[in-house]
C-alpha cells in the first residue's frame, strides 16, 4: 500500500478531523508499518494542520515510528522488575538467536528488537510487546518459540494464542474484584437518585481519586457539573503507565462493566453525552474485550440512546488508543493527546473541570475511580465509607511485583500496613518497597509499619518489592532512565534535569562518582522539584532523593573520590589518535592516578 492510500483509508475510517489525528496515525502505521514522511504531508492536508504540526504529534509518541520496524517488532519491557527477572540477558539471547542488534531493523527487514518503558506486566516479568500485543513471562523457551515463528515468517495472525494469554493474577479480592456485579445495578440506583443525590452519595462515601492525587470525586464532578459549556465530557484515564502498575489491566480485562457503569453515572451527573476511554497503547490487546463489553451494554440499554428507557439520557463511550507516552497519564496531557496533539501538560488554571476536552467542561478520572463510583451507587455511600480509614475510604487495588512468591493484584482495605501486604504476597527478605511506582515513595524496611493511605503512603497502585539481595542504587538508576525517556520536554527543569540526573547516576554506576556529583544531584533535585511544569518533573528525582536518604551506603561505596572526579576519560579520548598513529606504547597513554 502506498502512503496516499494509507491516508485515504485512515480518513475513511476516522474522518478528517484534527482531534482524530492519533487514531489516523495508528491506522497509517498499521497499513505501512511506519509513518513515513510522505504520509505526514497527506495527513496534514486531510486534517488541515501543517505538516510540522502533524510531525510534532507523530514524533512525540514512542510507539509510532517514521522508519520501518520490520514485519515483527519485539519490544522488551524495561522496568527494574523486568531486569530483576533477567530482561537484559534474555534480550541479548534473543538478539543473538536472530543475529540482530537492538534498535536496528534486521537487514532483511524482518524483525526489530528494542526496549520500551514498563508495559504493565510486572507480575509476569519479564514481558514484551510483540507487534503491539502483550506477551508475558518470557524465558528462553518462549523466546525460542518466538524466534522460530519469526524465522519461518509465520503470519502474525497465525501465531499460537497461548503466547498472548495474560492471566489476571488476582491474589486477593474484595468488593470490587470479588463480588459479582450485575450490570446496571449502580446505574438504576443513580437514575432513581438524580444528579444531586448521586453527588451526595459519593460525598458520603468520601471517594477520592485513585490515580494518585486523591482529589475528592464528588467535588470534581460537582464543579464540572456547574461549569458552563457547549457540552460536557467524561474521560476515563486508562493510561496506566506508572512502572510496576497493572491493576487497571485487570479491571479493564475482567471488570469493564464496572468502569463503563461508573462513566455512565458521571455522564448522568454532568449531563454529558459523550465519553472517552483513553487506553494506553501498550494495552491494545484489551481493546477488543472493551468493545465487546460496550456492545453488550448497548444491547441491554446501558449505553446509547435513552439509557434504561430514560428519555433523553444518551451517552456512549469511544475507545481511544494512546501511543506510548507516560506523560499522558497526567490529565491535561491526556486531553491534549485526545485532541490529536503531543501530550504536553497544559498551563493550569484553567482546570479540565471548566475547560478540558475541546475547551469544554471535562471530568477525567482513573479506571479504578469509576469502578468504585459504580460500586458506591450499587451498595451505598455509607457502606463504602465503612471500609478503609476515615481519610481514605474503600479498598485499593495494589499491583504487587518483585521479590515475592505471589505477585499479582491485591484488593486491600485502605490503611493496611506494608508489612501485612508483604506477608500476604510472600515477600522474600524485603529491604524496601517502592509504593506508587518511581514517582511514589521508596519505603525502607525500618518503616514497614506504615500504611497505604492518602494520609501516610499514597499509592496509585504499584507495590514493588525488593529483597535484601537487590542494589537499591540500581533500582533508582533504572527509574532515572525511565523519567529521562518519558519527560515530555516542555519545561527546562524536567527536560534537561532528567537527562543530567540519568547521566550522573550512570557515571556513579561506572565507579566514577565523587562527592561533587552527589552535591550536583541535590541541586538538580531542588530545581526539578520546585520549578517543573507538572508532576512528572516534580517527582522525577524522588527515587534518587529517597534511596540516598534510606540507603546512603549504596551510593557511598560508588564514590571514588571525596572531591571531584571527571566524567571525561582522558585516556579513552586518545584511542582514535592511537589507532591513527598505530601507537600503543607507554607514552601514548595517560594514566589517571588512583585516589
Amino acid at each position: 500500500m502506498d502512503p496516499t492510500e494509507a491516508v485515504e483509508r485512515a480518513v475513511a475510517r476516522y474522518g478528517a478531523e484534527a482531534p482524530r489525528l492519533l487514531a489516523m496515525l495508528h491506522s497509517v502505521q498499521a497499513s505501512l508499518g511506519c509513518v513515513p514522511a510522505e504520509a505526514l504531508d497527506r495527513l496534514a492536508a486531510a486534517v488541515r494542520l501543517t505538516r510540522a504540526e502533524v510531525e510534532s504529534t507523530a514524533s512525540f509518541y514512542h510507539l509510532l515510528h517514521s522508519a520501518p520496524h520490520g514485519k515483527y517488532e519485539v519490544l522488551f519491557s524495561d522496568n527494574v522488575i523486568d531486569h530483576m527477572a533477567g530482561k537484559a540477558e534474555l534480550m541479548r539471547y534473543f538478539c543473538d538467536e536472530l543475529l540482530i542488534q537492538p534498535g536496528k531493523q534486521s537487514e532483511d527487514g524482518l524483525v526489530f528488537v528494542d526496549s520500551t518503558s514498563d508495559i504493565g506486566l510486572a507480575d509476569q516479568a519479564p514481558g514484551a510487546l510483540v507487534n503491539g500485543l502483550l506477551v508475558p513471562s518470557l524465558d528462553r523457551n518462549r523466546l525460542d518459540l518466538i524466534a522460530n515463528l519469526i524465522r519461518e515468517q509465520r503470519p502474525f495472525a497465525q501465531w499460537p494464542q497461548t503466547l498472548f494469554e495474560v492471566p489476571d493474577n488476582v491474589r486477593k479480592s474484595g468488593p470490587l474484584l470479588g463480588e459479582p456485579f450485575r450490570p446496571g445495578a449502580g446505574l438504576r440506583r443513580a437514575l432513581e437518585l438524580g444528579p444531586d443525590a448521586i453527588l451526595a452519595e459519593l460525598d458520603a462515601a468520601y471517594l477520592r481519586g485513585r490515580g494518585g492525587a486523591g482529589y475528592k470525586t464528588a467535588a470534581k464532578w460537582g464543579s464540572c457539573r456547574k461549569a458552563q459549556g457547549r457540552a460536557h465530557y467524561v474521560v476515563c484515564n486508562a493510561d496506566e503507565g506508572e512502572p510496576g502498575t497493572f491493576k487497571d489491566r485487570v479491571l479493564l480485562a475482567s471488570h469493564a462493566d464496572l468502569v463503563f457503569e461508573g462513566m455512565t453515572i458521571a455522564a448522568r451527573v454532568l449531563g454529558a453525552q459523550s465519553g472517552t476511554l483513553y487506553l494506553r497503547g501498550e494495552y491494545r490487546c484489551l481493546a477488543d474485550r472493551l468493545r465487546a463489553a460496550r456492545t453488550r451494554r448497548r444491547a441491554t440499554g446501558l449505553l446509547g440512546r435513552n439509557i434504561l428507557s430514560t428519555p433523553g439520557f444518551d451517552f456512549d463511550v469511544e475507545i481511544v488508543l494512546g501511543a506510548g507516552a507516560y506523560i499522558c497519564g497526567e490529565e491535561s496531557a491526556l486531553i491534549e493527546s485526545l485532541e490529536g496533539k503531543p501530550g504536553r501538560p497544559r498551563n493550569r488554571p484553567p482546570y479540565p473541570d471548566t475547560q478540558g476536552y475541546l475547551g469544554q467542561p471535562t471530568v477525567v478520572n482513573n479506571v479504578e475511580t469509576y469502578a468504585c463510583a459504580a460500586k458506591i451507587l450499587e451498595r451505598g455511600g455509607a457502606w463504602f465509607a465503612g471500609l478503609g480509614t476515615s481519610g481514605s475510604t474503600g479498598t485499593k487495588l495494589l499491583s504487587v511485583s518483585g521479590d515475592c512468591k505471589r505477585p499479582g493484584v491485591y484488593e486491600v482495605p485502605f490503611g493496611v500496613t506494608l508489612r501485612q501486604v508483604l506477608a500476604e504476597c510472600g515477600a522474600q527478605q524485603p529491604q524496601a518497597v517502592q509504593v506508587g511506582g518511581p514517582s511514589g515513595t521508596c519505603v525502607p524496611w525500618r518503616e514497614f509499619e506504615r500504611r497505604v493511605s492518602f494520609e501516610d503512603v499514597p499509592s496509585a497502585g504499584a507495590f514493588m518489592v525488593f529483597s535484601r539481595s537487590r542494589d537499591m542504587f540500581e533500582v533508582a538508576r533504572n527509574f532515572t532512565h525511565f523519567f529521562a525517556h518519558e519527560s515530555c520536554g516542555f519545561c527546562t527543569p524536567c527536560r534537561v534535569g532528567t537527562s543530567l540526573l540519568r547521566d550522573t547516576m550512570d557515571k556513579l554506576s561506572r565507579g566514577k562518582g565523587s562527592a561533587y556529583d552527589m552535591e550536583r544531584m541535590q541541586m538538580l533535585m531542588r530545581v526539578m522539584r520546585s520549578m517543573s511544569h507538572c508532576g512528572l518533573g516534580h517527582t522525577a528525582a524522588n527515587p534518587v532523593v529517597q534511596t540516598m536518604q534510606a540507603f546512603p551506603e549504596a551510593y557511598e561505596r560508588r564514590l571514588r573520590n571525596l572531591g571531584y572526579e571527571p566524567s571525561f576519560d582522558l585516556d579513552a579520548a586518545l584511542e582514535t589518535a592511537r589507532l591513527i598513529t598505530r601507537r600503543d606504547d607507554e607514552w601514548a597513554h595517560i594514566v589517571s592516578e588512583e585516589p
Binding site: T50, R51, C488, F490, P493, V527
Partner: protein
Amino acid sequence: MNTFLLDGREVPFREGETVMQAALDAGAYIPHLCHRPGYAPHGSCKVCTASVDGRNAASCTTRARAGMRVETSTPELADMRRALVEMLFAEGNHTCPACEKSGDCELQAVGYHVGMDHSRFDLLFPARDLDASHPEVLLDRNRCILCDLCVRASRDVDGKRVFAIAGRGIRSRLVVNSASGRLGDTNLAVTDAAVRVCPVGALLPKRRAYQVPIGRRTFDLKPASEVAITEARRVKEQQRG
C-alpha cells in the same frame, strides 16, 4: 486599581494580567526567556519562577490576584534560577565567543544577570542539525532553547505556521513546515516576526553578522532588565495606539 506585593513593593495590575505583565509594566524585571510582551504566555523556560504565596510558579503564566505576595529573588530562588540557566547552556551547544548573536543574545544576557560564571553541569554536546538552505535566514539548532517564541510568532503574528516543536524530552527539536524538512522550502521571510523574536542565535538573518560591532550591541549598552522593561512599554504603547 488592585495591587499585589512584588518583593515587598506594591504593584498595580489590571484584571486578567499575569504577574510578569504587571511587573514589567511597573518597571520590575523578572528574568525570563520564553516570554515576550505581546505574545501568548507559554511558561516553558521556567526562568521566571517565583514564590507566589509560598508556592513556586512561573510568573509569566500566573494571573495576578489582589493581595498576593510574590517573591522573585530569595537566595534560594536566585540559586535555582542560575542552575536553570546553566542547564540550558549544558543542553545545547552554546559557543558565545564564536556566536554572531553575542551581545544581542538574551540567554547570554540572562546568564550575566543571574551571575552565571560557569556551568555546574556536564555539557551534553548533542548532535543537532544546522539548516542553511534558506537564502536569507540561517537555522542553527545547536543554539535553540525550545522557547517556542518563533512557533508563536509565525502562527500568531506572521500567520504562516512555519515552525513546530517535534520529538519528546531531551530529543525535542524545532521542525519547519516543508515536505523536505528544510527551511529554504518554507514560506519564511527574513522580515518575519518569527526571525526577529528568536532570543538566541538559532534563527539568524544572513550577512548581517558584524554590521553592529561587538561592544555596541543591545546588551553591551543596556542590561537585560532595562531592555525587557523598555520593550514591554513599547508594546503597551503600540497596543494602546
